[in-house]
């Protein structure tokens, strides 16, 4: 009897090993699955593109464990130019025959690749681009990990409603598509949340001083000031608001990036930041904590949500291919696999699932800064919300 079981066990183990070996060799024999990663490596947005690639590289290393078919990201510069993004997409599609596209981190380059992907039926996995029209109704090939920007505006209204019912909000923002999308969501939801918008100030691109506008904001006596700048100017606005007497506790930034937070330094202690990933969260998974630790070790600062989404993108693609190996060689099948995918963010266990337009169920954290040091910061969670992508009429609000 014993020997029977033994024999069986040995046979089973042997055949399983053989089978696995065969599987491995089959997987290793096949050429790697190429994913075209068009992103901003030069030009004004290069910081976002490069930090995204930094996050992606951590993911790429993890997903290519031995025995699995290799996934290779073909990283291509788009010079922060939409036209160049289209050209790069075409090159990846035609020359490299990639399975899918991914990568852009700004609205206009994202939208340019989106146009190419939808027209040419190439699946497009968007890690960090929040412009709502990337998943407008009728989108078929595009899947987006980052919640859309109009939703952030909605979430800010919800947050203020909770903090101070009937509160007064001032908005001060740079005139970029992304920023306008956020204000559109906020302006839509504010009256529904019984909030009042007391100042609404847009800056043209390339502005550099906001003292006067800070004074106008102060004169409007708001409870909260929503600051939505871009690049260095974001920092300038915040400093000038604080200079003129706005309290840090009154400031809400719809998105917080590590470098930004650290630039404000101690002055930002008390301010609120919207985010989708925070290195301080207790609820991070072990993988998430390792990611944060490794990232700090390599780059001397914690990752922001952008790096997180790019890291997660690698895992999402792996998961879709693991569940549907045949999707590795067929764009339509990969599209279907993505659209059926039900998974979780590797780093935080927040569910990922795409609706018919490729948008996922949305969420946001509001963090309140508790301390800022030279290379790190501490924050506590002040608010968490989840909602369906179309809880507000996103696609009519932002054209």
């Amino acid at each position: 009897m014993d020997s029977y079981w033994k024999t069986l066990a040995v046979t089973a183990t042997a055949s399983a090993t053989l089978l696995a070996a065969a599987n491995i060799s089959a997987a290793q024999d096949k050429p790697p699955v190429k994913i075209g990663f068009v992103t901003e490596l030069t030009g004004p947005w290069s910081f976002f593109g490069t930090s995204c690639v930094a996050g992606l590289k951590f993911g790429e290393e993890q997903i290519n464990s031995p025995g699995k078919r290799k996934i290779e990201f073909v990283i291509t510069d788009n010079q922060t130019s939409p036209a160049q993004s289209v050209a790069a997409s075409r090159s990846l599609d035609v020359q490299d025959k990639v399975l899918a596209l991914s990568g852009p981190t700004s609205s206009d380059t994202g939208l340019a690749v989106y146009g190419y992907a939808e027209q040419n039926k190439v699946p497009f996995v968007v890690p960090v681009a929040a412009f709502p029209q990337l998943t407008k109704p009728g989108s078929r090939y595009t899947f987006r990990l980052e919640p859309n920007a109009a939703g952030w505006g909605y979430a800010i209204a919800k947050f203020v409603e909770k903090q101070k019912p009937g509160g007064k909000i001032a908005m001060i923002y740079s005139d970029y598509a992304l920023m306008r999308a956020i204000t559109a969501g906020l302006k839509y939801q504010a009256p529904l949340s019984k909030l009042q918008i007391v100042a609404d100030i847009a800056f043209p691109q390339g502005s550099n001083d906001a003292t006067v506008q800070a004074a106008q904001v102060l004169a409007a006596q708001p409870d909260y000031v929503v600051v939505i700048g871009a690049g260095g100017f974001d920092n300038t606005i915040t400093n000038q608001l604080l200079d003129i007497g706005i309290k840090p506790q009154q400031l809400i930034h719809p998105f917080g990036i590590t470098t930004q937070v650290m630039n404000w330094g101690k002055r930002s202690v008390g301010s609120y930041y919207g985010t989708f990933f925070d290195s301080n969260l207790d609820s991070l998974t072990p993988e998430g904590k390792t990611f944060v630790k490794d990232f700090i070790a390599k780059y001397g600062r914690p990752p922001s949500y952008g790096e997180n989404f790019c890291f997660v993108t690698a895992h999402v693609i792996r998961e879709a291919l693991d569940k549907n190996p045949e999707a590795a060689d067929d764009r339509e099948k990969f599209r279907d696999a993505m659209s059926k995918l039900k998974t979780k963010e590797t780093t935080s266990d927040i569910p990922i699932e795409f609706d018919k337009n490729g948008a996922r169920k949305e969420y946001i954290y509001f963090m309140q800064m508790t301390d800022v040091e030279a290379k790190s910061y501490k924050a506590k969670q002040a608010f968490y919300a989840e909602w369906d992508p179309e809880v507000i009429p996103v696609y009519t609000l932002v054209k």
Partner: protein, 336 residues
């Protein structure tokens, strides 16, 4: 520098140019057709053809009339937005294209007005600012342009029968546009109009004294040059499939101008060569993105230091000794 004396008749002039023109026409049509198997390379060829239309227009203004409008891309953008908006509201692209190009011409003529009062380089600086205003305008009038988000998924134009035209077929249209552009430029430079423009380029005060209506001819040059910009812009939009203010910003203007200066202003084939070299270069250097800008910058500096008149004159200089007359004239001007 003025064109050859009037002893050469018009017809023999055409004969001289017939060879290169024929070769160019064949290549313009053959290359996209040969590359049609690889949509990417064909695409690079197509973009180059559009740039040939643009450099021809810029050449008319900069090379032959001596005006240096750095708002050229902005003008092309006006036409592109017009064509896209009109097509989206149900017009046929083939009607929208001339309307857009005409709008660009009118806008270009109006924006060229400062050139009547601003001499030489002052106008160039002014045009730089005009370009900035145009770009701000593209961002600001978002209901027409969709702001800095841009307009994506612009389809290729409808075919005469049904459905949209195929991409290889559109390549041939681009080839036709480039050939027509060059032919029109040749025709203008050989005509009385061309001679007057050259006279204005050499010395507009003297031209005025010789009875040339400088205002009228500068405006004519702007109208025609902007028409080139407009046609190129309207074709560019559906070909790329995406336009945004950054597609027509000052850097693009400078690039187009650079192709003309690089190739050799005031020659027919210099700017064409400029486009043929510089447009694909940015695609070829794609992989070397870390050093691409530096290489591009060094190339610009090398050309201006080694071949100040552009490639065309650089080549000429190596085959022919420097003309003493031209050198003397330069010295005289320098001495003033």
């Amino acid at each position: 520098m003025t064109d050859s004396s009037s002893t050469t008749s018009l017809s023999s002039d055409w004969k001289k140019i017939a060879g290169p023109l024929g070769a160019f026409t064949i290549l313009a049509f053959a290359i996209p057709a040969l590359l049609s198997g690889n949509r990417y390379l064909a695409f690079v060829a197509g973009i180059t053809l559009i740039h040939i239309v643009w450099t021809s227009g810029m050449n008319l203004l900069y090379g032959y009339t001596g005006l240096m409008p750095l708002m050229f891309a902005g003008i092309a953008g006006i036409s592109a937005y017009f064509a896209v908006d009109l097509t989206a509201s149900g017009w046929s692209f083939w009607v929208a294209l001339p309307v857009g190009a005409l709008a660009a011409s009118i806008a270009g003529t109006i924006l060229g007005l400062p050139s009547l009062r601003l001499k030489g380089f002052y106008f160039t600086l002014c045009s730089l600012v005009i370009q900035t205003v145009i770009t701000l305008g593209f961002v600001y009038f978002a209901n027409l342009t969709n702001g800095d988000t841009g307009i994506s998924q612009i389809p290729l134009p409808a075919a005469p029968g049904s459905g949209t035209i195929s991409a290889p077929a559109f390549d041939l249209i681009l080839a036709a546009a480039a050939v027509i552009g060059v032919v029109v430029l040749i025709a203008i430079t050989r005509s009385a109009l061309g001679k007057r423009l050259i006279a204005i380029r050499e010395d507009d005060e003297l031209a005025e004294m010789l009875g040339i209506n400088v205002t009228r001819y500068k405006m004519t040059a702007f109208f025609i040059g902007s028409l080139f910009a407009g046609v190129g812009g309207a074709l560019y939009a559906p070909y790329i499939g995406f336009i945004s203010p950054r597609s027509f910003d000052v850097l693009i203007s400078m690039n187009i101008w650079l192709m003309v200066a690089f190739g050799g202003r005031g020659t027919i084939w210099g700017p064409v060569a400029g486009a043929v070299i510089l447009v694909p270069l940015s695609f070829l250097l794609q992989e070397y993105y870390t050093v691409k800008d530096v290489i591009y910058g060094l190339l610009i500096i090398a050309v201006i230091v080694l071949m100040p008149g552009g490639i065309a004159s650089g080549l000429k200089r190596t085959t022919r000794a420097t003309e003493p007359v031209a050198a003397g004239a330069a010295e005289q001007r320098g001495a003033k």
